[in-house]
Structure formats: C-alpha cells, structure tokens
C-alpha cells in the first residue's frame, strides 16, 4: 500500500511530462470530375491519391465523376491515368475538409496520333536585323484518319541528351492539323545562347493547350502530359 502511494505520488510529480499530440485532422469529401476538351466526361480514368497509407484508388464513372469520402486534411498528389491518354498529375493539392465537398475538375487529353518522320533545321542570320534564328521544317505522318490537331514543342539544350525532362529552353513551334504533313518554322534564338556554343534540339508532337502541364518536382521542369513519347531525331548547331 505504502509502495502504491509512493508510486502514485511519483506519477503525480513526474508522470505528466509534456506530450505532443498531433491534432485530429478534419475530414471531408472530395468530388472530382474528369473531362476532355469538349467538356465531355471521361470514364475509366484511374485516380491514385498519394499522401496517406495505403494509397486511395478510384475510377471515374460514366459521368467522369469520382468521390473520396472521409478524406483527412492534408496534402495529396493525384495521379490520373488511362490508356491512350497522357498521365496527368496534380502535385501538392491542399485539402482542408469540412462540411461541403471540395470540387476538383481535371482535364485529360489523348496522346497524339502522329509521328515525326523528318526534321531539319539550320541557323540563319536575319539580313536586316542581324539576329540569329533557327529555320527549318518538320514532317509528320498521321496514324489515324479522324481529325486531330496539336502542336510541336521544341527542347533546346547545351547537352546532346536533350529531352522533355533535360533541357534549357522549351516552347511551341507550330500547330499541326490532320490534313497537312509538312510544317516550316523560324525560331529566333537571340540572347538565348552565347556565340560559339553548340546547341542540341529535339521536337515532340503534343496535344493540349500550352499550359496543360505539371512540374517535375525533382528538376523544376514543366512536363506536358499529352506528348508522344517518341520525338524527332536530335539535331546539333554551332551558334555563330
């Protein structure tokens, strides 16, 4: 008994050290809709939600909808995949929760049905302004008969391993359409690279608007989801 009293006293004096308790997070619902450019719902998209263990996985229904109930407050990555479409990622989505569901609309864009079969370019100096430009052309083949439009995205680097994830400069060259297979371009490169350096350039067909992208969190580069995984051959140039 005495021992018990001593133990309790000890507990009263020392037993209540400061304890860190993580707040119980709020919960709430997340309602997502997956749509295409014509606002048409896209069914059968797998949505993987990273941020809690285990991962939450949903599939969009015939209305393009998916719902996550009892989702805890937190930061989440949402990864949208469907065969034939570019994989889209929404990284660092802040979800607070509460009584009203959070709504999230996401665009999914089909991969291009064109291949680049020819690419040539050379650096030319504008005779009037004296500025350097990359002038050339891109040749494509259409893999499907149905109407399709997209654009060509170029990547330029100082290194021969230039790709959509390793580059210094990127931008759009031109739009492509179903009924045309050859495209000319002129790209000013004033200020971009010092004289005497070697440039490497590659071109990829891509669909979706210019800002349809997400950031690669390891490099900080913007990735364009609806891009043909196969690009043109890499060309090199000496800056005059």
């Amino acid at each position: 008994m005495i021992r018990n009293i001593k133990f309790l006293s000890l507990l009263l004096v020392f037993g209540c050290g400061e304890q860190e308790i993580i707040q119980i997070p709020l919960q709430g619902s997340l309602e997502g809709i997956v749509i295409g450019y014509g606002l048409e719902p896209i069914e059968g998209v797998t949505i993987t939600i990273e941020g809690k263990d285990p991962l939450i996985v949903r599939t969009s229904d015939s209305n393009g909808k998916f719902t996550v109930d009892d989702l805890e407050t937190g930061t989440y990555n949402l990864v949208y995949t469907k065969p034939g479409y570019g994989t889209f990622k929404m990284l660092g989505y802040s979800f607070v929760g509460g009584s009203i569901p959070a709504k999230l609309n996401t665009l999914m864009v089909e991969l291009p049905n064109v291949n680049i079969v020819g690419f040539n370019a050379q650096i030319e100096i504008d005779s009037y302004f004296g500025d350097a430009a990359l002038n050339g052309s891109v040749l494509i083949e259409h893999l499907e008969q149905e109407y399709e439009e997209g654009h060509f995205r170029y990547y330029i680097s100082n290194s021969p391993d230039v790709s959509p994830t390793q580059f210094k400069v990127t931008g759009l060259l031109d739009y492509y359409f179903s009924d045309v297979s050859s495209y000319d371009f002129s790209l000013p490169i004033k200020n971009l690279f010092p004289s005497g350096s070697t440039l490497y350039m590659v071109v990829y067909p891509v669909r979706g608007y210019e800002d349809y992208s997400y950031m690669d969190l390891s490099t900080g580069k913007q990735l364009f989801p609806a891009m043909n995984p196969q690009g043109s051959e890499v060309l090199s140039f000496l800056v005059p």
Binding site: S9, L11, L12, Q19, G74, T75, Y76, N191, G220
Partner: protein, 236 residues
C-alpha cells in the same frame, strides 16, 4: 500495521488517485498542428532577360520565421512545417524581389508545392552629376550614367517625399542612348498649388510582367526589376 494506519493510507491513496483523475495529464499536453514539407523553385535571369545556369543562393523565407537557400537548379525545401497560411519572401542581392501571399498549406504525407517564381538581375548602374531644374512647366533632369547596358529610365512623380516606383502619381519612361542623359518632363497637368517630388530608376533590360507580384500589405502590384538612381527630390 494497525487498522487505523491502513485506513489512513487507503484514504490518502484514494485522494491521490482522485487528484490524478481530476487533473490527469491534459494540462501538459501540447496540441501540435499537422506538419509536412514544402518544395518550390526559383528561376534566375540575367539583367538582359537571358536564363542563368546557376539558380542558387536565393534566400526563401516563410512568414519571416523559417529560411532556406535555393540550390543550383533553383530548388528549395522546407522540412516539418506546421499547417497554416504563409507569406513567402524571395530575395537575392542584385536581383528583383518576389513575394507570394496566402499560400495555404495543409501539412501531410506529400510535400506542398509552391511552383516556380522568376527573379531578374537589376542594373548595376549609378548616376552622377545630377542636376534637376524647374523651368516654367517642365522639369529638366541631366546627369551621367556609369554605363548604358540598360537603357530604360523611369521617372516617378508624386506630391509626397516618399515617392517611389510603388507609390506615385505619374510616371514617365525614357530611353537612354548615351551615358549623358538630358530628359524633360512636362508638369503642366499638375495643379500649381501641389508640391512635386521626383525620383528615378533604371530598369532591367529583360524586365516584363513575369517579375511582378501583388503585395497584399502595400495593396499594390510591385515590379522591383530596377535600380534607384536618386532619392526623391522636391522640384516644386
């Protein structure tokens, strides 16, 4: 041990137990909000607008409380930050400033993402032999620039001595083609009873709206891609 002692001990025991139950450990518990990491990127540009290869050593501050530096690719990372609303300040000597307001961070298992912001080198230019003269309804400004690699000079006019590129009444842009400048500004539109103060800045050659941010404390859009050439001077 006699019965009295046992009873007394029993009472003490129960009393202590009661205190323990009443007070418990609740008062000593510290509530800690959700925590998590935040990542972001900074893109640095040279004064002429060309992209730099090295994006390191930008000081990034969260709510004036946590500070980190960017690495060579411009990446920065805050670890174990509590959920909350944040203002992020980006600074590097010789570059335009940037601030991001109202970033809501929920904490959790994957990092919050701040995206990429842009900062540009500001001109390393000074002005000497400054002369400002009021001639009727014009202000005549002359002086010598230390170099002319940046060519846009902006004058800001206001009726108070704290006139700046953020707080001003009217502004005028001139292109400096030589180191010697001689600019004339008409003040005929400003009422003659008003005092007039003037200050001037030289702008980064590659400046554009990518370097703007909205400052919720100043309630104003800010572009700091410029170097002040002289402190406000009263001209009338």
């Amino acid at each position: 041990m006699n019965t009295d002692t046992m009873n007394r001990n029993n009472i003490i025991h129960k009393f202590l137990l009661l205190i323990l139950i009443i007070t418990g450990c609740d008062e000593k518990e510290k509530m800690v909000p959700l925590q998590g990491d935040i990542v972001g990127f900074v893109s640095l540009y040279n004064e002429d607008g060309s992209s730099r290869d090295d994006h390191s050593n930008v000081t990034v501050t969260l709510n004036e409380k946590y500070t980190v530096l960017t690495n060579e690719i411009g990446k920065f990372e805050f670890k174990n930050i509590e959920a909350g609303t944040y203002t992020i300040t980006y600074q590097k000597e010789g570059y335009s400033k940037y601030k991001k307001f109202n970033y809501i961070f929920a904490g959790g298992g994957v990092p919050g993402v701040l995206g990429t912001i842009s900062m540009i080198g500001v001109p390393d230019v000074t002005l000497s032999n400054l002369v400002i003269k009021l001639e009727g309804e014009s202000v005549r400004i002359s002086g010598t620039l230390s170099s002319i690699k940046s060519d846009h000079i902006k004058y800001y006019l206001h009726q108070t001595s704290y006139v700046s590129n953020i707080d001003y009444g009217t502004s005028y842009s001139f292109i400096a083609e030589e180191q010697e400048i001689m600019d004339i500004i008409s003040i005929s539109g400003i009422h003659s009873s008003m005092p007039i103060y003037i200050t001037a800045y030289i702008e980064s050659k590659g400046n554009n709206s990518n370097f703007n941010y909205y400052d919720y404390e100043l309630n104003s859009s800010v572009n700091s891609a410029m170097t002040q050439l002289f402190e406000p001077v009263q001209v009338r």
